[in-house]
């Protein structure tokens, strides 16, 4: 086995030689300076530039007339999106609005306007309620935040938490009656009951546990809590009792996002995103299956039926089939560049995967393979829908 130090020495030697050769073959410094000076000294408007400008103006005029003709206006970037795999709806903040959109029909409804700065948002599993967290000082750095709840059919928002609370993330309970949140500063998990206002139920976390994410177990009065520094996941009974470690820490590099856990509907499997892949835990036996991916992984999701795992890397979507011993990657080519806020979620029937490629995504998906990936005609060009069953084979 080649040790790290040996490999680094080998690499240093190789890089030094290859670099020296490259310098020998590159244009001389004088030649490079001449070329750069010539490019810098060009008159800003020569014939080519004028032609380019005219062409650009024509293109803008054509695009504007096409937009007006189709009555479609550009939308602000979508941000802080929650795609709910249970209800078939997607809720997101866009500009200063909170919008709910039906995944099947694409029909949007603007629930709220003039929202200050939404930092997390989630729809209840029964589809009736939307909770969101509004940061008082915008998106930059830690800030006190307030959690609100609003009826998905439209209503005035009601406040759920005082302003001094710092909430990093929250999750609706399977019965849509409660919301679990992590209070990182206090080292606690807090359970809020929106329909029964009063003091929230709180559970202390183990000392030193850097809680970053909480997820309800679909089958019991327990929540999974992830340590954002080590990646350790514990199962915490709500009513009291000792927490149980379900995924040990330091199994791989953790990512700094707060949506890295997903659980199968029958509560038997838990998938955790790591920077180098996905760890799938069999919750009954504690067995961990690793799916290592040779790229930096941004997000992953376990299908509700527990048969598929999807991983979003910096460049593509990878889909893995879960079998008894391993996760086997399905050989499909789904290249797409994604931004930092990219998300994926399986549909309730586990047959489709929705991808929001993130904040920096330009508004076109035309380069994607049309047979397996088709843009949804929502006026939301950065949301796409993928089918892969055919590619997975028997």
């Amino acid at each position: 086995v080649i040790r790290d130090r040996e490999l680094d020495d080998l690499l240093r030697g190789y890089l030094a030689d290859a670099g020296a050769n490259a310098v020998g073959e590159a244009p001389s410094f004088d030649e490079a300076v001449r070329r750069v000076a010539s490019r810098l000294g060009r008159r800003p408007f020569d014939g080519r530039m004028t032609l380019l400008l005219v062409a650009a103006l024509l293109a803008v005029a054509l695009a504007a007339s096409a937009l007006l003709a189709s009555n479609v206006l550009p939308r602000p970037n979508v941000r802080e999106t929650e795609m709910d795999g249970t209800t078939g709806s997607v809720v997101y903040a866009s500009g200063d609005q909170v919008v709910l959109r039906d995944m099947a029909t694409g029909v949007p409804s603007v629930l709220l306007e003039n929202v200050h700065s939404v930092v997390s948002i989630g729809i209840s599993p029964d589809g009736r309620w939307i909770a969101f967290q509004e940061s008082l000082f915008g998106h930059g750095g830690p800030s006190p935040s307030v959690m609100w709840i609003v009826d998905a059919r439209g209503s005035e928002p009601a406040r759920l938490t005082p302003a001094e609370r710092q909430i990093s993330q929250f999750d609706w309970s399977p019965d849509s009656a409660r919301i679990a949140t992590v209070l990182p500063d206090a080292g606690r998990v807090s359970i809020i009951s929106p329909q029964a206002p009063g003091t929230p139920q709180e559970r202390d976390l183990p000392p030193g546990f850097g809680a970053a994410e909480v997820r309800w177990s679909p089958v019991a009065e327990e929540v999974f809590v992830r340590d954002g520094r080590t990646g350790e996941v514990i199962l915490l009974p709500i009513a009291g009792g000792e927490p149980r470690v379900v995924l040990p820490g330091d199994l791989g590099s953790v990512t700094d996002r707060n949506d890295q856990l997903s659980i199968s509907v029958d509560g038997t499997l838990l998938a955790a995103t790591m920077a180098d892949g996905v760890r799938l835990v069999d919750l009954a036996s504690g067995r961990v299956r690793e799916w290592l991916i040779d790229e930096v992984v941004l997000a992953s999701d376990l299908s509700p039926d527990g048969r598929w795992v999807a991983a979003l890397t910096e460049k593509r979507v990878a889909i893995g089939a879960v079998d008894e011993n391993a996760i086997r990657e399905v050989p499909i080519q789904l290249d797409l560049p994604v931004g930092a806020g990219a998300q994926i979620v399986f549909s309730p029937d586990s047959a489709k995967l929705l991808v929001i490629p993130g904040l920096e995504m330009p508004g076109s998906m035309v380069h994607l393979e049309p047979r397996t990936v088709e843009p949804l005609d929502w006026g939301l060009p950065s949301v796409i829908q993928i089918s892969w069953e055919a590619a997975a084979g028997p």
Binding site: L7, D17, A18, S253, A275, D276
Partner: protein, 177 residues
């Protein structure tokens, strides 16, 4: 009194002198970084020239002159990554070609099979992983500095370094058991 052509020639000469002073100490290092990251001479040449042009135009934004090296490295690395993303490397074949050997020729005869395998495997890494390796192991930047130069998170940079090492180690072990 010189005519317009004479004035233009004088202005170009003056610009060349200023460029020479500005980039003189740094050209060789910029060329090395771009060549190692791009792993392809034409792209590397484009990256260095684009970086020089960009740096010259934005030189007023350099507030700390003693950070010139860091500032130039940041520009050239990002240009190399941008340009390289447009270029698809040829798929690696099992047999190394004369072109692979030529890229590594050196007069001290240090080129052995391991170097050739390393060169081919290094060329197949994603450009971001190559850049992380070059900045960290060749240019001597720390992981944090490498992350800042590339505009990435520290954790992402660590992952890139780890993945690159994993792949290179695996290629070497597979080819030279």
């Amino acid at each position: 009194m010189p005519g317009r052509e004479g004035e233009s020639a004088n202005a170009t000469t003056s610009l060349e002198t200023q460029l020479s002073v500005f980039f003189g100490e740094h050209y060789s290092r910029m060329t090395r970084l771009a060549a190692l990251i791009c792993h392809e001479p034409a792209s590397a040449e484009d990256a260095v020239q684009a970086a020089m042009e960009q740096a010259w135009r934005r030189r007023a934004s350099l507030r700390e002159p003693n950070r010139l090296r860091w500032w130039l490295d940041r520009i050239v690395v990002r240009e190399a990554i941008r340009i390289n993303r447009r270029w698809t490397p040829p798929r690696r074949t099992d047999r190394l070609t004369a072109e692979d050997a030529a890229r590594l020729r050196d007069h001290e005869a240090r080129v052995g099979p391991a170097r050739l395998i390393l060169d081919a495997a290094f060329g197949q890494l994603p450009v971001e992983q190559r850049a992380a390796i070059v900045l960290h192991l060749h240019a001597g930047y720390t992981v944090q500095e490498t992350a800042r130069l590339m505009g990435s998170a520290v954790e992402t940079t660590r992952s890139r370094l780890r993945l690159a090492r994993q792949r290179l180690r695996s290629e070497l072990q597979e080819a030279m058991p």
